[in-house]
């Protein structure tokens, strides 16, 4: 019976994808039986091309498809009233795992999880507890904030680098005083002060994630106060801060995704939030019956957070020192704060 199912599934995959190559052997058979495992992804209204978590979740979904051979499907929501119908459509059609991207879908996921107790749900960047079939993916971004903080603190002492002015001032821009932002910031400040206790970190709030003009203005003001490294944790507002850093020939640090493409000689590294990794891991866990309901933290150890490869201007000695902190964070010897005091 199982064998027959396997063949049927293999046939189905060929029919559906046309291009899929069935490699003979045991792994191919395992893969094709995985095709019965269906994963649906519902984006929020940001859509797939948001350069942020919707996009990264899709990258993770595609990676899981390639790795495990699971069947995947995506739907982009037009309006917030689409969240519930889209989630329930996947549940009704017998999808095994349904992924909701972003805290905007919090109430829709809570509602649909109750209606379809047999379906597993994953929500990204939101904390839902108390449902046996919902896992929440959260990110220990204070860890990657800490590492780029260490890098900034060390860089500020490299006075031979033309961009570094020797004033030992770093500019930190926050989009909004909310935990997903402040965890980066708190880790960053702790990291800077760990290696460079005398460094001055100037903090600035924009209260907007969508205003590059404001980000540029604030960054210019920080630079005029002596900052030679700018770390904006402010979504689209941060793009303006990076532009300001480029204009004034100082360094900047990207956030969430590798933002080096915005200014290749300015963005010295990026603090990464691995939504794609979390998505891929969650799909693998659900497939192998290791689904973990409740809060799931993604950290350095499982590559849920990290930093992008630094540009050549960052000396090897600095990078080596930064890397030396990774095992300390992994083992819990260093526990950066996740909120600003």
């Amino acid at each position: 019976m199982k064998k027959w199912l396997g063949f049927a599934a293999a046939g189905l995959t060929t029919l559906l994808t046309m291009s899929s190559v069935i490699v003979p052997g045991a792994s191919a058979l395992a893969k094709s039986s995985n095709a019965n495992f269906k994963v649906g992804l519902v984006t929020d209204i940001g859509g797939l091309n948001d350069h942020s978590f919707n996009h990264l979740a899709y990258v993770g979904l595609e990676a899981a498809k390639a790795k495990y051979g699971v069947t995947v499907s995506v739907v982009q929501s037009h309006q917030s009233s689409d969240y519930f119908p889209n989630l329930s459509t996947y549940a009704q059609q017998g999808y095994n795992l349904v992924i909701a991207v972003g805290f905007l879908m919090d109430s829709a996921v809570q509602k649909v999880a109750k209606e379809y107790p047999k379906t597993k749900f994953m929500i990204i960047d939101d904390a839902i507890t108390g449902h046996p079939n919902v896992m929440s993916a959260l990110f220990d971004t204070q860890q990657c904030g800490y590492l780029v903080g260490v890098m900034s603190g060390l860089m500020n002492e490299q006075k031979h680098i033309p961009q570094i002015n020797g004033k030992n001032v770093i500019g930190l821009i926050g989009g909004m005083n909310i935990p997903p932002v402040t965890s980066y910031m708190a880790g960053f400040i702790a990291g800077v002060h760990k290696v460079n206790p005398k460094a001055k970190v100037l903090v600035d709030w924009t209260n907007s994630f969508t205003d590059p003009g404001l980000g540029k203005e604030d960054a210019l003001s920080l630079i005029s106060k002596g900052a030679d490294i700018i770390f904006p944790v402010a979504g689209g507002t941060g793009d303006g801060a990076i532009a300001a850093a480029k204009q004034k020939n100082v360094f900047a640090i990207g956030v969430d995704a590798n933002q080096n493409y915005l200014a290749p000689k300015t963005v010295m590294t990026s603090a990464l939030k691995g939504v794609n990794i979390a998505t891929e891991i969650a799909i693998g866990d659900a497939l192998h019956n290791h689904f973990k309901a409740g809060l799931n933290f993604f950290d350095l150890k499982n590559k849920g957070v990290g930093f992008a490869p630094p540009i050549a201007a960052v000396p090897k000695s600095v990078l080596k020192k930064v890397d030396s902190f990774i095992p300390l964070l992994d083992s819990g010897k260093i526990n950066p704060p996740s909120s600003l005091s």
């Binding site: 209204i45 499907s73 929501s77 009233s81």
Partner: protein, 356 residues
Amino acid sequence: MPLYAVLTGLILGGVIMAIAKYNPFAAYAALFSGAFGSPTAIGNTLAGAVPLILAGLGIAVAFRTGLFNIGAEGQYWVGAMAAVWVGYHFPTMPWIVHVPLALGAAMLAGGIWGGVIPGLAKAFVGAHEVITTMMMSYIAILIAHFMVENGPMMAPGYVPQSPTVAASATLPPILPAVFLNSNLSDGFFIAVAAIVVVHIVLFHTTLGYKLRAVGFNARAARYAGMNVPLYTVLALGVSGVLAGLAGGVQLLGVDFQLTDTFQSGYGYTAIVVALLARNNPIGIFFASVFFAALSAGSQIMQINAGVSANMTDVITGIIIFFVATDRLYGYWSQKMRPHRPSSTAAIISGKGESPQ
């Protein structure tokens, strides 16, 4: 019924999908099943039509009076804000008082926003309502942002959203056992009632006659002794009341809280709905269901047929285009009729001969 308009749109959309290497038959099957394929789908389609019906009726009333209310989107959001505010501030109120109060607040807010302010500006200083309603719309949307982004209506916590309305302020679902897990709420009955009321007022009362008279020819109406400024304010007011009601019904029946995603688009789609229905209240029902069906169906088209979201938007856009321009068919069919050099079509086209 512009049946062949729909058909042309479907065929052209199918050709485009075939070129883009999608299976048009699977895609259309998904489109249809997503809109009408199950009681849940029907429920969601009807639920999606509710805000379009209400806002569309409002726009139609303004059009009938010769006014272009382009700011229904903003009136929708002030209505939504008012309804939610009332909805979560009085948790102990009985249902029979709470829901009418919340909807009343939504209508009042929409009416003031869309009607009284732009209406008075138009009637007394001649400010054009296209500009004023649109600007008021931007103001409303930005106020709504302010309210939930660390503003007075933000719920505790860090997510930019309002508290959820109390259970006593929600519109209950219609036959939840039949329309399983759909968005369909009693708001549907409100929308149907609004169609009936607007139809009666527009076509069977003196008030409606006067509104339409102002719309046909404002100068003639003034000459006939009608108080044109009054009817201007009134028409825009009713228009705003209905758009505000759309926001209220949506928030109490479907969304239950303001979230930081202010792009419902209902206010803009409703303009197309009203135009498509030629400002006929009953036509607005069918036009709204049509738009809601395309929207609901296009989501299932992504899920079941794997058609990308951009492509589904192209397909629905093409279908809407052909439906909206269905007058072309009348024009063509007249033009194709042979040997009638004196026909109006021939005169319009400037040619006496029909093409082969």
